[in-house]
């Protein structure tokens, strides 16, 4: 964006306004402040573009040159008086886990009034949000509770699945997206050192949808079913679900007879990057772990080398407090496309991801021994137009304890 373009746009806009309204609007200056997230270390703006849309005329103006003023980045733009919706997009760099990373950020302001006052000009502060929701791909459903055998009511755990859906109005390629499980549990709160929670999520496993970048096109409104085991489970257990049509499955290669897995050739295997356990992967069937959809910003080798996270935490046991330790992999919040906090309703202690990713949580189990959780799912709500609700608050966005959408 250069100034010439800006002037051009302004000129056109002015012309249009004057034509339509048959009156000449008075220009007024607007000072725009871009605030970087205060929770980031050594954050600096790499580039940014702010677009102002006049609510009445729909004319747009943009500015992309900012200068540092104190802790904020500032620009002044002169636009006709009126009300504006403002969106900001930009890249910032910051330090995390000993290295530097770059992330895309955005911010919005609605109905900002620009008036020509003599004393002081109008101003707006835009707080950059380091959560970059890639508008579109969302987790629509998580069937984590698995089912029970009919008759005995004993658990059958092999039929868990997730549905991820393109909630945008355009085609999205899903390959390169990762499905992750949180390392921490919502029913056990830990005081972590170092604490990356505000910047990153820590995962206990990470699986990638394989492809070359355009291998897995997902049309607007379409979904992918990711199964723990993509087979028709109703043949084994009539209470279960037919997942033979799932596009993807978790498949864990292990020579260990205890951890044998089934590889259905009809479903594509997710690529395993990391798991903290040598056993086969399962979703936590009580709902004490949370799940996310991540757009990976580094390759496998870099990720494995750089995103290792070693932490200590305080355990408050019945007989005292002591420090324990653990490890996992962290993923910057900015890479997270969608995050769904799960909990056991009566045992929720904390959310295992920053509130910017998900400020609420959803559930199937009321208590940790609640057997009625089996065979229920959490499903994202749809608004009146059929679009999945995504306010980054799972309490609001999800319907808890639902009949799984794939069950007959």
């Amino acid at each position: 964006m250069n100034k010439f373009y800006l002037l051009f746009v302004m000129a056109v806009a002015l012309t249009l306004t004057s034509c339509n309204k048959d009156e000449v609007a008075v220009d007024a200056p607007l000072r725009i402040y871009l605030q970087l997230p205060i929770n980031l270390d050594n954050a600096s703006l790499v580039n940014a573009e702010v677009i102002l849309t006049n609510i009445e005329t729909m004319a747009t103006y943009s500015v992309s040159e900012f200068k540092l003023e104190g802790n904020n980045y500032m620009a002044t733009v002169v636009v006709p008086e009126g009300r504006y919706n403002i969106t900001a997009n930009g890249d910032i760099s910051y330090s995390i886990g000993g290295g530097t990373t770059t992330t895309t950020m955005k911010a919005e302001a609605q109905g900002v009034e620009v008036a020509n006052a003599n004393s002081s000009s109008s101003m707006v502060s835009l707080l950059f949000n380091n959560y970059n929701a890639e508008a579109g791909m969302v987790i629509e459903e998580i069937f984590f509770t698995s089912s029970t055998f009919s008759g005995t009511q004993r658990p059958y755990t092999d039929d868990q699945y997730l549905i991820i859906t393109n909630n945008s109005d355009h085609l999205i390629y899903a390959d390169g997206l990762a499905i992750v499980e949180s390392k921490f549990q919502s029913d056990m709160q830990w005081e972590l050192t170092p604490n990356l929670m505000k910047d990153a999520v820590t995962v206990s496993w990470l699986y990638l949808i394989p492809g070359n970048g355009t291998s897995v096109p997902v049309e607007a409104g379409q979904s992918l079913v990711v199964a723990l085991n993509a087979k028709d489970h109703t043949l084994i257990n009539p209470n279960s679900i037919d997942l033979s049509a799932a596009q993807f499955e978790f498949y864990d290669v292990s020579p260990n007879t205890e951890f044998i897995d089934e590889d259905n050739p009809s479903a594509v295997n997710l690529t395993k990057w990391y798991s903290d356990l040598w056993s086969y992967t399962m979703l936590n069937n009580k709902g004490s772990k949370s799940y996310g959809l991540v757009r990976m910003h580094s390759d496998y080798d870099t990720f494995i080398a750089d995103n290792y996270y070693n932490y200590t935490y305080l355990v408050n046991a019945a007989w005292g407090t002591y420090e324990s330790n653990g490890d996992g992999y962290y993923i910057p919040n900015s890479w997270v496309i969608d995050w769904v906090n799960l909990a056991i309703k009566n045992e929720w202690a904390w959310n295992v991801a920053s509130a910017s990713l998900d400020s609420g949580w959803t559930y199937c189990a009321e208590t940790s021994s609640d057997k009625s959780r089996y065979g229920t799912s959490v499903i994202r709500k749809r608004d009146t137009s059929g679009i999945l609700v995504d306010t980054n608050n799972s309490t609001n966005d999800f319907l808890p304890k639902q009949k799984p959408s794939l069950s007959k």
Partner: protein, 908 residues
Amino acid sequence: MNKIPIILFLFFITTFSLKAQIKIEGAVKDRATQEPLIGATITIEGSKTIAAVTNIDGLFNLTIEKGQKLEITYIGYKPLVEEAHSGTYYLESHTTTLNEVVVTAQESQKLSTSSVIGRQAMDHLQPSSFGDMMELIPGGRAKDPQLGSPNTISLREAGGGGANYATSSLGTSFLMDGAPISSNANLQYVSGSTDAQAMKRDFTNQGVDMRSISTDDIERIEIVRGIPSVEYGDLTSGVVKIERKRGNSPLTARLKADMGSYLFFVGKGFEWEPNKLTLNLNADYLDSRNDPRNTLENYKRVTVSARIHKSWSGVRLNTSLSTNVDYTGSFDNDKTDPDLNEGAIDTYKSSYNRWALMTSLSLKSVENESWFKMFNATISTSLDNDNITREKFIQLRRATIAATSLTQGESDAVILPYSYTANHKVDGKPFNLFMKVNVKLQIPSQRVSNSLMIGADWNVDKNYGKGQIFDVTLPLYPGMSGRPRDISTIPAMHNLSVYAEETLKTSLGGSTLEVVAGIRGAHLMNLSKAYSLHNKFYWDPRVNIGWTFPQFNVGDNVGFVRLSGGLGMHTKMPTIEHLYPELNYIDLVQFNYYHPNEAYKRINIMTYVINPTNYDLRAAQNFKWEIGSDINIAGNRLSVTYFRENMTSGFRSTAIYAPYDYKLYDTSGIDGNTLNAPPSLDGVPYEMTQELVAHSRYSNGSQTKKEGIEYTFASRRIEKLHTRLTINGAWFKTVHRNSVSLMERPSQVIGDKQITFVGIYKDIEGYTDEMVNTNFTFDTDVPRLKLGFSISVQCLWFTSNQREPISNYPDQYMDIDGNIHDWNPALAEDVYLRYLVRNNTESMYDLFKVPFSMNVNFKVTKKFFNDHFHIAMFCNKIWDYTPSYERDGVTIRRHATPYFGLEMNIKL
């Protein structure tokens, strides 16, 4: 030692003096206990020289002039002046009086530190099983009975340590009337078990289950905590000697009920005086529940015993012959209510049926001057019929396979049905044969009581059971690589031991010196040459020395002090399970083909059969030393012992990693649509790969270090109050740590492979436990009212637990090819090797201390109708002080709930 020639010289002078006078043969005994007093000094009144000293049987002989009086002195006893005669002289103790009621454990007068529990103490304690006795020994505290799982013994130990530190209980020898209760051939574990029902009841390699020992037919228990005589072997920690009732006793019935159990006992002793023949018969039944509301989980015990004793008195020899026949049944049941388990079967049953037979022959010389004192031969045998039956309805949560191959090589796995009932049986028939001969000799002496004991024992353990019996295609623990195992093919274990021990007691200028020194050699026979134990003798030297200072007067009363000390080695041979562990099967999935049609699925496995026997396994050895003092003043007695024990070679199950080759087939080329049978392996591409897998092996890898002070104070009974105070307690500090390097493989998976390195660490664990306790027992006995009661104030001053600091870094590591490399700090940055670095933080080494708590226990017994009827009750924790305490700002609340019971005894 160089005093002996002088002593012998004096002996000759006395014996061969020319005065022709009368010769007397006397015995000196304790009036209360009838026990012979060894080393009592006999002087002729008016003379200052010692005329004789009683020998190891309390006997002496002397030539005197008629009418002379003898003065007999013995430290701790009132001196006796009596006209010389042949026969028994009774001395009265300063501490115990005739018919004294003793309801606590007493410190033995012997040199080796031990607790003696008499019949009265047991009656007052009102036990259900032998485990309840542990309250009485220093460091003990009343505990609610836990009869739902085996009770193993813990001597001089703070904290537990778990199965890897069980050598402490395994190494405590239990002797029933001189015959061992062997647990060397106990193989009653459920192979591969992961369920609480089976795991909590597994006490293989952990010694004797004290629940199975009934207490009602016991006359006396001696628990040797210190350094036992070399007569006792195959132990590391101590000896529990149980002597049962013998001789006439009325028909006795006991009915006891407490909050978790009820017990019924009946017994009678017959005696045919002229024939010197006795017969004792008794039986008991115990029924207990862990939770009184749950009828499905219970423990039952049945014991039946018949004991015959016959003795003959001869001119030169007294002969006695004993024969015991015993049955013990010990039954655990644990069943899940089908109504609460969706109708599914889930049962665990374990039964021990032990038949034991023993015969003991003893010849005792009645001649004082004989070199031969005693000969004893014991032969005992026992056979168990032990069964564990586990039946469980299994419903798989996901597809699971079973490896079935019993030989090394490739084979197809069985795909398990999703629902089935699994049956797993463990059949054990441990057999034990024990023979022992023991001879006591002496050099006849007027000055030194001495005896030389020489003996040998031979112990055979064998198991004739069928072992682990189950259908591999319907396993109890799906996915686990277990196989049935017949244990009857395991060779018998023969342990031959020889020993010699010298006991000396002599007076030196008013003081008394006692020395017991011996050596024991033990040797495992019938062991293949491959074992390093083959042809190896273990020698255990053990010495106890005591020095008693001359008696002194405190007002009208006397006092005396004994200092003692000892040191010794103690050896416990490995058990059958340690020497012949079951084979390990390592099954590696190499071909895993899924097809929607179950009939076309195929899983191929490479099986490795690993013999996990550690041929270098050695015996566990515990070195002990201790010093103690025994102070007696005016009938009040204080015994204090400081001890240290160090066993670095305790048995431990360790994981041994090694790489194993297998083919990793790529099944992606198989076209499922063209199959009409499971796919062939031929032509399917594969890559040879390796996996690091561990098998378990027994090693001498556990160290248990014990240190502590044990003390017992027993007051004289205060006559006006009819009350006696006993204070006992202990400070124990125990360290449990691994003593060999151990291997650990990180569980993380990077990419799709588990970390392919194994860390080798010198330190894996180390815990220091400490505890200090004191029990104050006030017991009151009012003979006029036939009433006895006691209040025991049991203070646990603190318990603490602390981990020992361990290095965060491995010392070495193994790579995927099995090569071992030294660690260097730069490796901590490696993407994969960093997983071998542990992240123990300082706070993990914090001291966890649980502060003071106190329980008050109350017990009462009352006799009616000429002692024919006797009623007793106890209430433990009738009052308690268990305050909440704070740790790191968190308030920790504690609770104590009273536990009570009631019993009736009828004697006809």
